[in-house]
Symmetry: C2
DNA sequence: AATTTATATCGCAATATTACGATAGATAAA
DNA sequence: TTTATCTATCGTAATATTGCGATATAAATT
């Protein structure tokens, strides 16, 4: 096995899980924080800032890009990464609703 | 390899990644949704509702419990799971701040 | 054209995850 | 006490992830 049974879940559940999974790594959190911090986009400064090899960073960026969380634009020699607004807001809403649907402490546990 | 280099990241980055990772599976999203939906706690109804084997569900519940997202209380023969309010609110805040720190579309990508 | 610079991809090794059958443990019911 | 019920754990197979060196690609500079 080792293969998630996506077919038994809803589209929404699979999508949310995929987006969370793309974010669920400290390096990718750090990359996103770095993009968010600088108002402008981020190129390969990441390799110097995080303590990971260039190949590894490139792989993490690819995962964030594949998930649709960031987008990259070629800017001469380097590539310019920034947040993909559409996905960002979608996930923000989904998570917002999800967490807000918790109605406080119950009386059973 | 295959081992995340947690030592080069901040405590906050590692914690957030760990919590997101615990949620980043459609079955675990479904479990959480089920707990959230019913105002009371949830025992083993999950095995009938989701299309996964009992051992698999138990494993997913364990992961959510280890991450501190849910808690389980033994209730006779069955076990009663519900949200762990502290972790829930922590993650809610962390994610809220994280997503809110995006300052809209920039001019470079 | 040759060189430098920035990023992507390949291939690999180590480790982690997912799923499940089989089985164990623990409480309730008969 | 025996049986039924519910959940946890073990063991295992299939697959995925993480990290990196080596190498490829592609644009800019000399």
């Amino acid at each position: 096995m080792g293969l998630t049974k996506t077919e038994i879940f809803t589209e929404e559940q699979n999508q949310m899980a995929a987006l969370l999974k793309a974010m669920a790594h400290p390096a990718r959190i750090a990359i996103l924080q770095r993009i968010l911090k600088s108002n402008t986009c981020i190129c390969g400064d990441l390799v110097d800032e995080l303590g990971l090899a260039q190949a590894t960073i490139s792989q993490h960026l690819k995962e964030l890009k594949n998930a649709g969380i960031i987008q990259g634009t070629i800017e001469g020699v380097s590539v310019c990464y920034c947040i993909e607004p559409k996905t960002w807001k979608l996930l923000q809403n989904q998570l917002g609703n999800f967490f807000a649907s918790y109605k406080g402490e119950q009386n059973c546990c």
